[in-house]
């Protein structure tokens, strides 16, 4: 056990953890918007819209995240047409490619979580709203969404943790996130265990914080209060 390496690698790994956090938070925000959009499409009665939304979530949940990142980072750059548009400025950056891939991926899972949350809302709750003469829009925003958020919190908490682990794949497209820097230190010092302990602890600490945050929110939004 090389204690010196553990202490020396910490200042290098902590800034990298910030990159990981930045990737996580931006993809979660974009993913939540995408997920909400597709969850609403899934509930649509039109079979084409419905199937389209299902196809999106099937595609992104049935393939590894690594393939998705590679298609976006290496694959899209191949299309000549894209190079001439403003999109090229985004696609040529590995940082944005990673965020696009993560957002689309977490969006697919989030849409499934939200869909099942919307579907488990009791009809009586919506009927109660209607009988009080509340408009459909307000029923959706003030009744359905808050209940759905409460219902989906535990599953969404798991999804955040899965996404945190997913951000490690950013290192495969040259980004220096926590895993990227850890791999760099391992391959220069050949001391995998020490680096794993430090980087692993940072990840575990983040998982721990997310876990408790979700627990706190669950308590806050629970019906008994």
């Amino acid at each position: 056990m090389d204690l010196e390496l553990i202490l020396n690698s910490l200042p290098k790994l902590l800034p990298a953890a910030l990159v990981t956090l930045k990737l996580l938070i931006s993809s979660l925000i974009i993913g939540l918007i995408i997920g909400l959009g597709f969850a609403i499409l899934r509930l649509n009665k039109n079979i084409f819209i419905n199937k389209f939304a299902y196809g999106y979530s099937y595609l992104f949940r049935g393939t590894p995240l690594l393939v998705q990142i590679f298609i976006i980072y290496y694959g899209l750059a191949q299309i000549e047409y894209l190079r001439s548009t403003f999109l090229w400025a985004i696609i040529k950056e590995p940082y944005w490619c990673a965020i696009i891939a993560f957002s689309l991926n977490t969006g697919a899972y989030t849409s499934e979580i939200l869909r099942s949350a919307f579907q488990t809302i009791k009809v009586g709750v919506i009927e109660a709203g209607k009988s009080l003469g509340i408009s459909n829009k307000i029923i959706f925003y003030k009744i359905q969404i808050p209940i759905a958020i409460r219902q989906s919190l535990p599953a969404y908490g798991n999804e955040i943790i899965l996404m945190l682990k997913g951000t490690s794949l950013a290192s495969t497209v040259t980004l220096m996130d926590l895993t990227g820097v850890a791999k760099y230190i391992i391959s220069t010092t050949f001391k995998p265990i020490e680096v794993f302990i430090v980087a692993g602890s940072i990840y575990l600490f983040m998982t721990f914080c997310i876990h408790n945050l979700i627990k706190f929110l669950e308590k806050k939004y629970s019906f008994s209060n």
Binding site: Y58, L59, G62, T63, P64, L65, L66, V67, Q68, F70, I71, Y74, G75, L76, A77, Q78, I79, I161, L164, K165, G166, T167, S168, L169, S171, T172, T179, A182, K183, I186, S187, F190, P192, I193, F196, A199, G200, Y203, L204, T207, F208
Partner: protein, 230 residues
């Protein structure tokens, strides 16, 4: 389509063998995972705090740390650890472990953590009366477990194990970083030499979709089999 021709002109046969490799690694990893689950589920369910702690430590650490990091640990640390053990027996030559073994072991340990959680949940959801009834009938401990408890555990666990299988199958794409030629690695090689990454990575995605789709169908049949009588 020329790119996918079998033989020397295309990548069809290479990708076919790569797909077989992905299946082989996934199955090996899943079995190694079951082995770990077999060890750690009793630890998590044990009456003793120290065993609980060991079981929880395993599942928490593995499920909280990225798969890629675990793979790097095995990839860079694997041969070092083996050589250290070998040196205790007086063997000092360089030992290189096969990428297949390192990869399956790394993915297997990850898969095992998820399987452990599934089995723990399944055992806990079985009615206490079933354990007691088995005991009262005077069955041996072995028969109690294999004939009474295990079939019920499997019925409850199969839907969740199918999720673990999907996770394991997708995680095998990460072993491509160690150089094992599975779907992802082969696509990477093909994309590099033909300069057509869009096509090959999309094709890899299709291969994974086929694998997940087929395994879903197969697992559904298993589910029906184990739910007979319910």
């Amino acid at each position: 389509m020329e790119l996918l021709a079998f033989g020397d002109t295309g990548w069809g046969d290479e990708l076919f063998y790569a797909t077989l490799m992905t299946i082989a690694v996934s199955i090996t990893a899943m079995l190694i995972g079951f082995l770990f689950a077999l060890i750690f589920t009793p630890l998590k369910l044990s009456k003793y705090k120290i065993f609980n702690f060991i079981g929880n430590f395993y599942t928490t650490v593995i499920r909280g740390v990225p798969e890629l990091l675990v793979i790097y640990l095995f990839f860079f640390g694997g041969s070092g650890a083996i050589m250290f053990v070998a040196s205790m027996f007086g063997y000092y030559e360089y030992i290189e472990i096969n990428a297949f073994i390192t990869g399956s072991l790394a993915i297997g340990i990850i898969s095992g953590a998820y399987s452990t959680e599934v089995f723990r949940g399944a055992v806990q959801s079985i009615d206490k009366g079933q354990f007691e009834a088995a005991k009262v009938l005077g069955l041996s401990k072995f028969t109690q477990f294999y004939k009474i408890i295990l079939p019920q555990v499997l019925r409850i666990a199969i839907p969740n194990l199918s999720n673990v299988w999907q996770i394991t199958l997708k995680d095998t794409s990460l072993i491509s970083v160690t150089g094992l030629v599975e779907i992802m690695r082969q696509s990477y090689i093909a994309a590099g030499s033909t300069r057509d990454p869009l096509f090959f990575y999309s094709f890899a995605a299709v291969l994974y979709l086929i694998l997940t789709f087929l395994s879903m169908k197969l697992i559904n049949r298993l589910e029906i089999r184990y739910s007979r009588g319910f």
